[in-house]
Amino acid sequence: MLEETLTADAEAADVALAGSGDATAFERLYRTHVARVHSLVRRMLDADEADDVTQDVFIRAWQKLSTFRGESAFGTWLHRLAVNVVLGRRKSVGVERGRFVTHEDPLDGVSGRGETPELSMDFEEALARLPEKARQVFVLHDVEGYRHEEIARMLGVVPGTSKSQLHHARMALRRHLDR
């Protein structure tokens, strides 16, 4: 308990110092949070995009430190920022490529299960094979703990769509856990 308090105090100091232009303090914030941010990004996007987008998240955080009011933990604020960067990037990439969610059935993306030679597939790999919307909803709801109403707002869909995508994602993933 005491250690948690000290850690929070130390992080508050680093946020203040980074806000005053201290890159060393910002590096400490980076070291503390990079695993969580990178994991979020990697799960929601293609793995080969994760490094670039993670860098973008921290650059954006550096730029937006003045909007952090300390009402929540810095990690919570950074995490939400990462979600926004991921979703914003996906939208722009989708427009550029003209293929933002071309299929709605999440099960299509994992239909190769029976053709895969390995007897077991890493859960993260199975997750990566889910279609984009189902993957995003699953990550945001089951991994990150967002509610359907929040997810629906972020994705620009109705909550019912979020629930439906989540169910399809879970159904697809349970087949991999069953193997």
Binding site: S20, Q55, H148
Partner: protein
Amino acid sequence: MNDQWTDRLSEYLDGELETAQREALEAHLDACAECRATLEALRGVVAHAKTLEDRPPRVDLWQGINARLTPGWQPGVSRDTTVRRFARRVSFSVPQLLAASIALVLLSGGGAWLALKPDAVAETPQPTPATFTAVSWTSRTDQAVAELQEALTRNESRLDTATVRVVRQNLAVIDRAIAEARSALEADPANTYLNLHLANTMRRKVELLRRVNAIAARS
């Protein structure tokens, strides 16, 4: 498998069905082993999702990030409003800044200090969370610095003379800076720059003492 019920299993699992729907589904589950198995499998997926561990990137991304922290460009100032003076919205009191800054250093190290002073843990009073305040932190910081300095005095024989001399010169410089910052803060207690400067200087002192003690411990 009855798709009518299967499609509602996630909502049931998440407690999002209305009472009548939930009761109807539970009645179906009593009679349908396949749906019960599917429900358990979905429960397993949800549980598994919560156990996923975060992993850092395979390569350190900091250098790339640091290179993009534009020199001369203050954080908190958006690119299109650079003429607007940076104004912090996060505010910290003097003791909060000071204590939290030092807390970072004390948390990040101290192992060597404790190794040099095995009874330090027993001797150091541990404040309870309820009594942990900025004021108590300031006194804890002073105590920590004093103990680090005592440890250095005891163990400086393990260091060569030149190192001890350089360390003492640096400590003297830091102490002067601390004294000047404290003096300036008495006249202008709310000055953000002075607060940060004092916190940083105190942090440097603790860091220096900790590092020197670590070197002595290895000698």
